[in-house]
């Protein structure tokens, strides 16, 4: 395949992904807010891994607190998606190995890691908010194999992005040799 055709395809896919990422970054937090505002008490309790029968109603202040809590990891992820657009812009310019690309990748991996860790805390904290004022309550963080697998993969991606950032810096320096 001709290099120009490949480049055109990269530009096209980068543009499409750029639009998709922007849309996701905007829509995802809004969707979480809307969902949180319209969920029934039973659904909220179920999402917090607590018995829905214990919480037949959710007060407005608790609901607002839960929505704010739930939207934080999504906002972090949205920021990561927006940072990833820097890499796509570089791809559109044909700069596949520039330092900006790998810095954006590392930034994305960091936000992904932060969002995953924050999401771990959301479930028990939601339960805590629900049970605030109750006589009894418990707090437990559950980490499943899926979460560990995600964390390892994200850490690997972060490390790769870091190494490539260093490699790009070396390449930049080498380019200044004649």
């Amino acid at each position: 395949m001709e290099r120009n055709i490949r480049r055109q395809r990269i530009v096209l896919w980068s543009r499409a992904l750029n639009l998709l990422l922007t849309a996701m970054a905007v829509v995802a937090p809004l969707a979480v807010v809307v969902m949180g505002a319209t969920m029934s008490a039973a659904e909220i309790a179920a999402s917090a891994d607590v018995d829905p029968a214990l919480f037949p109603t959710v007060t407005d202040d608790k609901r607002i607190a839960i929505v704010v809590l739930t939207v934080i990891p999504v906002l972090v992820l949205s920021y990561g998606l927006l940072r990833l657009r820097t890499a796509l812009s570089a791809f559109r310019r044909g700069q596949y190995f520039s330092r900006d690309v790998f810095v954006a990748f590392r930034s994305f991996a960091s936000t992904l890691l932060a969002a995953t860790l924050l999401r771990l805390a959301v479930v028990p904290l939601t339960g805590l908010i629900l049970s605030a004022g109750s006589e009894k309550g418990s707090l437990a963080i559950t980490i499943g194999f899926d979460t560990i697998q995600s964390l390892v993969l994200i850490a690997g991606f972060w490390l790769l992005a870091w190494v490539f950032t260093e490699a790009a810096a070396i390449e930049d320096e080498n380019r200044q040799f004649v």
Binding site: E173, Q176, F177, V178
Partner: protein, 68 residues
């Protein structure tokens, strides 16, 4: 930087153009210009060898250390 590149002097002494030298080394005139102004981080041995070959000189003729 306390290293002076004397490439312009050497070219003038020998009456040869930068374009011919750039062509002989295999680098662009823009890069040769940067080298002449000492605005590069380093010079490859391969480049140095080609310059010395073209100008019939020693590496020491091209570079001078200036104590600050």
């Amino acid at each position: 930087m306390p290293i002076d590149v004397r490439l312009s002097v050497m070219l003038a002494e020998r009456g040869v153009s930068g374009r011919d030298l750039a062509e002989h080394i295999g680098i662009t005139q823009a890069n040769l210009s940067l080298l002449r102004q000492g605005k590069v981080k380093g010079i490859r041995f391969e480049t140095l060898e080609r310059i010395c070959e073209f100008l019939e000189c020693q590496p020491g003729d091209l570079l001078r250390y200036r104590s600050e």
